[in-house]
Amino acid sequence: MNMLSLQHFPIYSIMVLFLGAFLIVIFGQNKVFRHTVALLATFASFFFMAMLFKPVMLEGQTIAYWLGNRVPAGGYAIGIALEVDALSLFFGLLVSCVVFVACIYSIQYMSHDDNVPQYYTLFLMLAGGVMGLVLSGDLFNMFIMVEILTFAAVALTAFRNTANGALEAAFKYLVVGCIGSTCILAGTIVLYAQVHTLNLAQMSALIPGNLSSATKLAFALLFIGFCTKAFLVPFHPLAADAHGAAPASISVLISGVLTKSGIYGLIRLSYFLFQSMALGTMQFWLVFLGSVSMFVCVTMALAQHDFKRLLAFHSISQIGYVLASVGLCTAFGISAGLYHAMNHTLFKGLLFLAAGAVLHETGTTDLGKLGGLSKKMPHTTVLFLVGAFSISGIPPFNGFASKWMIYQATYQRAVETGNIGFLLVTICALVTSTLTLASFVKVTQSVFFGQLPKEYENVKEVPFGMRLAMGILAAMCLVTGLLPNMVTRYLTEPAARAVFSVVDYINNMMGSGYAQSAMAAQPLNPDVSFASAGVWSPVSWLCLLMIALLAVTIVAIAGKYDRVSIKTPENRSGKYDLFYGGEETVYSQVGGDDLFWGFKHNWRHYFSFMHELHSGVVNDYALWAVVALALAIVYALIVL
């Protein structure tokens, strides 16, 4: 049992984060010490996860680790276990990578904030909580990790308590977050009473046997609990407030990482604990919830005035994509969904960092007041455009590859089952993708293009550290977009295969042969085929585009295309002013709300209804949460 065997790496990657948090609390005053500890901790956790990549992903090994070496005795798992199969490792890698990049960004981003040591402790606590949730093999341990990350996220939302609405947003998040956590706790308790164990593997062996009404209640509670963590439809407004007020590096964590933990919880719950995905009604529930939140949040995003609130609504709409495709219960669907989850973390992180850069330089993220920043902040504009193109699914970038796979998965599912509902999901997904493009064109025009207002004349580029972080994410967006088959073969397909291999998940944890003896019904394992009907090779498309672009530019240069006469703007003769119908050039920025009048006019009833619904009052959101819980319980009792 030497300390460096693979068994110990999961616990190392969690503990190193908590250790870092603890050290910063004590020695956090010294700036250099604080930054090195934070960077080291996040990098170490990423390093341990990367070390697990070969054994788990390629060789299909599943690592079980019992804290305190309390191995299950007599068929009962007493100790707390960490279980890392391909699915957990996929999420673990994703989380640790984004946390590391966010840490690089926040060193300079938070440099001129006050009481920064607390920021890093909470940052590392949040990271540790999510890593713990993703790697843990024990339901109660998952609950504890959920508690840690919720409270860390609430505290970080209110970190800049002078910012407008930060405290209120944190309070809202706290109230609904706690409702979710209590639901998870209640569900865990009821399950424990039924199957007398807390170990995920053992529970997934025992629960399908005795689906009494109590376990169905527990399922509903757990389901709503994880939905609040993923900010799905009934709980999405509080995400917008949380992102609006939180510092950008924290928004990266909340939208990139926290929502994924909710999705991870849902996958574990419906595919492992209850193995209920074989039921058509269960799939309908997940896919319906996904497509509703996909559509509602993108239309809400179009109506936003604030840059970060717009991004927040988009992150929930993308989570809707992931849920809709994971809920299809086909191997190709799950792999597409996980691929999109990874892409979403990357480009959403990039976009939030860009929003942070804009906030850092201009001090506001109000779309109506900004404009023309591309001349002052060229690098941030390019990086933002990479993020915007990826999220709206423009070919060379990664958003397109995963969305393209999602359309195929939903459409193939529709053809297999012959049920037209999935077809509506494909149509809704395609239309939502264009609406996403519309809202990002709106942001590009109102923030980066158009005319520079007077007060931002002396805005300059963001410090290098922030641009480095954005650069890393942008590069990853491009790379994962160009090599979809590489990514799917090494990352998402093993994870999808792991989702369906419940039996060896249990055997690995509880000792071989346990699953066969304990399990009543044989768990579902459909044909794990990843054949996709469409064909798309981005690398060859990109070099075709490059050849065409090269040819066009050569012809243009030959034709003295760049023989453009632009004198220096000092001699401001009228020739280089904008054409205003002959008038003097005055400041008139077209952006923010005066865009897409045609679309908003046609949907004005829908938008006014949505406006009333999202009242911003805590009681309404809490009411929605409770109503959603009630509906979930009723549905679970009927369905399961």
């Binding site: 064909v535 060859s540 498309w541 065409a548 040819a551 243009a556 002013d577 008139s588 077209v590 865009l595």
Partner: protein, 339 residues
């Protein structure tokens, strides 16, 4: 290997690539302007007028406004044109497809976004308020054309997929091969509403007359192109014409593929040697495709241009999301239940 590379380079630069798009695109828009004039009892410009316009614009000075972002201002039109030409490579010419294994129908749906995005980013980069309004209208037009286009493509894929037994067929060459085997899709009952809907989408997607609120020269001084002059403007006008070609040839390939089969039988009937037969089929394919594109431009773009007045932006959106989408939905449901 070198021969292979040269062949592919020839594909990109000569046949379905630049030269072909340049000539046929400008010819199509010349014919379109002539037909519109003739429908208004005017003589109308010569067919080669777009060529003259393009070369004149190449000769003019390019003024970059001080408020504009210089590199984006210059590179946006080129990226738009390159994206459009690469899109044309994936659209088969009946039996011949330049690059069949690179993109399928959904990818083409997204590749159509690149030229629209390039004109929006280029227009936005100039910073002119006219461009801002034009950009907002262009995005709503793209938004409105998206839904019917999606429904039509899904219907066609389902129809061909069900017929060829794989349940779903996204690749365009497959669709054309199926049509060459057993008659073009326009003959099937369930595909007629889809074809009509696609015909209605063509003017919206290319931004020609009744749906050109984005480049309304009378209201917002040519919208996003207000600040463009000289060669970049020429490239934008060229990509507008090439878009007419790509939309009409997409229609031909989706609904009139059967004609390719007819050409093949004709060539077989002539009983030529292998090599010559191949060349002849390609030649005939290109000619027939061009003629069909001319007819479609006449019907879908010129006739509608001559008869209607420019719509307001919310009328465009309402028109596409109600009338045209309903048509496409009808054909999707028919195709769904195996008609």
């Amino acid at each position: 290997m070198i021969l292979e590379a040269v062949k592919y380079l020839a594909y990109v630069l000569i046949f379905p690539g630049f030269l072909f798009c340049f000539l046929t695109g400008l010819l199509l828009s010349g014919i379109d302007r002539k037909l519109v004039a003739r429908m208004q009892k005017r003589v109308g410009p010569p067919i080669l007028q777009p060529f003259y316009d393009f070369f004149k614009l190449c000769g003019k000075e390019t003024i970059i406004p001080a408020a504009a972002n210089r590199t984006v201002f210059l590179m946006a039109p080129l990226v738009g044109l390159a994206g459009l030409v690469v899109l044309q490579l994936f659209i088969p010419v009946f039996s011949f497809t330049a690059f069949s294994s690179v993109a399928d129908v959904i990818v083409i749906l997204y590749l159509l976004l690149i030229p629209a995005l390039s004109i929006m980013i280029g227009g936005g980069a100039t910073g002119s308020p006219y461009a801002g309004v034009g950009l907002s209208r262009e995005m709503v037009t793209v938004l409105s054309c998206e839904l019917p286009l999606v429904l039509v493509l899904l219907a066609v894929c389902k129809k061909v997929g069900a017929a060829t037994g794989t349940g779903l067929c996204f690749s365009l060459t497959e669709i054309v091969r199926y049509q060459m085997a057993n008659g073009s899709l326009l003959g099937k009952l369930s595909m007629i509403p889809a074809a009509v809907a696609f015909l209605m989408v063509i003017p919206g997607e290319t931004g020609s007359h009744p749906f050109d609120a984005a480049e309304a020269e009378t209201e917002i001084c040519e919208g996003m192109l207000a600040e463009y002059s000289g060669a970049p403007l020429g490239v934008y006008k060229l990509s507008h014409s090439v878009k007419i070609l790509s939309m009409t040839s997409l229609f031909v390939m989706l609904f009139l593929g059967g004609i390719g089969g007819g050409i093949q039988n004709l060539v077989l009937a002539l009983g030529l040697a292998g090599g010559a037969a191949g060349a002849l089929t390609i030649l005939l394919d290109v000619i027939v495709l061009f003629l069909l594109c001319v007819i479609l431009t006449a019907v879908a773009i010129s006739f509608v241009h001559a008869v209607t007045a420019r719509l307001k932006i919310e009328q465009i959106f309402k028109y596409y999301w109600t009338v045209v989408s309903a048509l496409a939905l009808v054909s999707l449901v028919l195709a769904w239940y195996g008609l």
